[in-house]
Amino acid sequence: QQQVKQSPQSLIVQKGGISIINCAYENTAFDYFPWYQQFPGKGPALLIAIRPDVSEKKEGRFTISFNKSAKQFSLHIMDSQPGDSATYFCAANSGNQFYFGTGTSLTVIP
């Protein structure tokens, strides 16, 4: 059973547009929600993360929006650039483990 559900599976955005990736979870014990960015041939790298005591976290063009009551969180990439083209994974942490979404392949068209 997928602990974290991620959508869409793939996303194509024009340069300068906003990319939005959504994740949902059921386990209320999750207390840390990171996003990872993976370029081809590389391992995933931590991009941005949020704890459930805040509703939003922004780092540069990347923002996590967190809705605790709905058990949903999303990644927004503002002013998307071709260099943002990558696979993005959301994740949730409980205890010693992270549970990952299935990934979103983002393509930003110049």
């Binding site: 990872y36 590389k42 391992g43 995933p44 931590l46 992270f98």
Partner: protein, 115 residues
């Protein structure tokens, strides 16, 4: 910079072979993990370890074993490789104890093909 190094980027092995995937981290992290990554399935946890000589099964341990003889090294072993184990294998490490305060650091992955 924290580094997680996986010994091979690409491997091709024959069905039935015993395969060793090595992972070394240089930041004295307690926790180490092995995942496999398949299209449409995301990252699935195979095994993890919170200490030397300690191991725990993840979600898909069948056909795999692990070894952690030293804190910095975590090996994944395919006892008898099969074609359905063709995948990208990712090693990760993290610090802290039972409550993870930060994220994982991943290696670059080993793409294993079993023929």
């Amino acid at each position: 910079d924290v580094k997680v190094t996986q010994s091979s980027r690409y491997l091709v092995k024959r069905t039935g072979e015993k395969v060793f995937l090595e992972c070394v981290q240089d930041m004295d992290h307690e926790n180490m993990f092995w995942y496999r990554q398949d299209p449409g399935l995301g990252l699935r946890l195979i095994y993890f370890s919170y200490d030397v000589k300690m191991k725990e099964k993840g979600d898909i341990p069948e056909g795999y074993s692990v070894s952690r003889e030293k804190k910095e090294r975590f090996s994944l072993i395919l006892e008898s490789a099969s074609t359905n184990q063709t995948s990208m294998y990712l090693c990760a490490s993290s610090s802290s104890g039972p409550k993870l305060g930060g994220g994982y650091t991943f290696g670059s992955g080993t793409r294993l093909t079993v023929v």
